[in-house]
């Protein structure tokens, strides 16, 4: 299936709409799961089971007054949430949703994702600085230091995946996300490279600034972290960016380690009369991709309400003294195994 430009624009529209809606409902899911874990009821007033709560929240946030601190740098204060959301959304472009269904399957897909992740720091840093408030500045600095530190281990975990792709994939373009998915046909990468999966997942948590790594918004110390001085829709944008990071992180874990759109028991399903390249198969693959992603989003939420927050020195210790050597070791062992066995 080859897509022409209009098809692609439609695809971009659909996927962006889905992503933002899912992000809004992740907030709802987070509150429900949190309530479940803490033995409460959670939102249940707006609509059946509280299902219209995200809609009500968005309307509330849109109608609120937008406050800019008097001594803030107005332009950068405005720019920071824009950068955050835009960068969070651009990562979507390279994800393969099903076989040959993607917005742009560039041949350096993995690096693209890493690059987008690495410049996402700017949104946080700039918002922290431009608010001209010490809490926001400290929160911004903390989270950007954290993101920079965990990027390294994340990149190394990705390299281990690329090594595997190099070994199992017949083509030549190992950095294409769809090649990485195809190389997992039969055995998912999580079984070939469990340590890499662990490292990548923890780093994805840190990159998304989620608990137990949500030092940037440690309420007890820093009020609200980098978005303390934001209100109304600008605040909502940061919130949206955080949940998009959760979704993107889950989608990347799925793509790199859990076979992306590949169906479990594919041979059995193909035996039931689903044809290669048919619409049915495409929807099954999208379903498979989304299901895996949703499972990881649940894990993100689950971990947030289960584990306590790290201290900042512990965070840096784990990042630099544990995960970095561990991921280098992982690469060396994996490369050795692939080379000699």
């Amino acid at each position: 299936m080859e897509f022409v430009l209009t098809d692609r624009l439609i695809l971009i529209g659909i996927s962006l709409f889905t992503l933002i809606t899912v992000a809004a409902y992740t907030v709802y899911a987070e509150r429900k799961v949190c309530a479940l874990i803490q033995q409460r009821v959670g939102p249940n007033r707006v609509g059946p089971l509280g299902l219209l709560q995200p809609l009500a929240d968005v309307i509330k946030l849109l109608l609120k007054e937008d406050i800019v601190p008097q001594y803030a740098n107005r332009f950068l204060h405005f720019l920071a949430p824009v950068i955050s959301v835009t960068l969070a959304l651009t990562g979507l472009a390279v994800l393969p949703f099903a076989k040959d269904l993607h917005i742009a399957d560039v041949n350096i897909g993995v690096l693209y994702v890493l690059a987008v992740g690495s410049i996402a720091v700017y949104g946080v840093t700039i918002s922290g600085w431009s608010s001209n408030s010490k809490y926001a500045l400290l929160g911004g600095l903390r989270s950007s230091a954290q993101m920079v530190s965990y990027e390294l281990s994340m990149g190394l975990a990705v390299i281990s995946v690329v090594l595997l792709t190099n070994h199992y994939f017949e083509g030549t373009e190992y950095l294409r996300l769809s090649s990485i998915v195809d190389a997992q046909n039969g055995v998912w990468n999580v079984f070939r490279n469990p340590l890499g999966f662990l490292i990548f997942t923890v780093c994805a948590f840190a990159e998304a600034n989620r608990a137990p790594f949500d030092l940037a918004e440690a309420e007890q110390e820093l009020v609200g972290g980098f978005h303390t001085e934001y209100s109304s829709m600008k605040f909502a944008n940061f919130f949206l960016a955080e949940y998009i990071h959760v979704i993107m992180g889950s989608a990347m874990i799925t793509t790199l380690f859990f076979g992306g759109y590949l169906l479990p028991f594919e041979s059995a399903i193909m035996g039931m009369g689903v044809e290669e390249g048919s619409m049915t198969l495409m929807f099954l693959q999208i379903g498979s991709f989304l299901t895996k992603t949703f499972i990881f989003m649940f894990v993100f939420i689950w971990v947030r309400w289960t584990l306590p927050r790290f201290k900042y020195n512990q965070l840096m210790n784990i990042g630099w003294k544990w995960f970095l050597p561990l991921s280098i070791l992982n690469i060396m062992v994996l490369a050795g195994i692939l080379l000699f066995l």
Partner: protein
């Protein structure tokens, strides 16, 4: 846009704006690499410069809490003159190189070769086979610079 952001970088009195203009400039350069079919270099440009180095710059500038740069007291002296002359010489050299490149009939890589050349596999192959020794030397130099930075940082304790 690249030139505009470059000018913004050197003319701005506020260091934060300068850093942000530099980031914008790096994106423009990455765009140039992309249009030359060198996707790998483009993305590495963004990861390394925009994603890592400029973040550190931004950090330092924010933490030092610099004021807007003051106007220099003397507007013209020997050092400044020398700087100006060096810059001019460098610019002249660039123009000269560009001229000779164009007049040599532009027998650079054909477009299909260029397309090949930008890929990760090709670059990795070249680095690890043809240019292994310089590559290793560069890494040693980088390591030495790293050590030097550490030594300087330690001295103050």
């Amino acid at each position: 846009m690249g030139i505009a952001s470059g000018i913004g970088l050197i003319t701005n009195r506020n260091p934060i704006y300068s850093v942000l203009f530099a980031v914008l400039n790096f994106f423009c350069i990455a765009g140039l690499y992309l249009s030359l079919q060198a996707e790998f270099i483009a993305i590495v440009q963004i990861i390394v410069y925009a994603g890592a180095i400029m973040v550190l710059f931004l950090f330092v500038v924010m933490l030092l809490n610099l004021e807007d740069e003051k106007k220099p007291e003397k507007s013209w002296d020997a050092i400044r003159g020398l700087t100006f002359l060096t810059a001019l010489a460098f610019f002249a050299e660039l123009v000269f190189i560009f001229q000779s490149f164009v007049s040599s009939g532009n027998k650079a890589l054909s477009s299909s070769d260029a397309f090949e050349f930008g890929t990760v596999e090709k670059i990795g192959w070249e680095l690890m086979q043809n240019y292994l020794f310089p590559f290793e030397m560069v890494s040693v130099v980088l390591l030495a610079a790293l050590m030097g930075a550490m030594v300087i940082a330690k001295k103050h304790n």
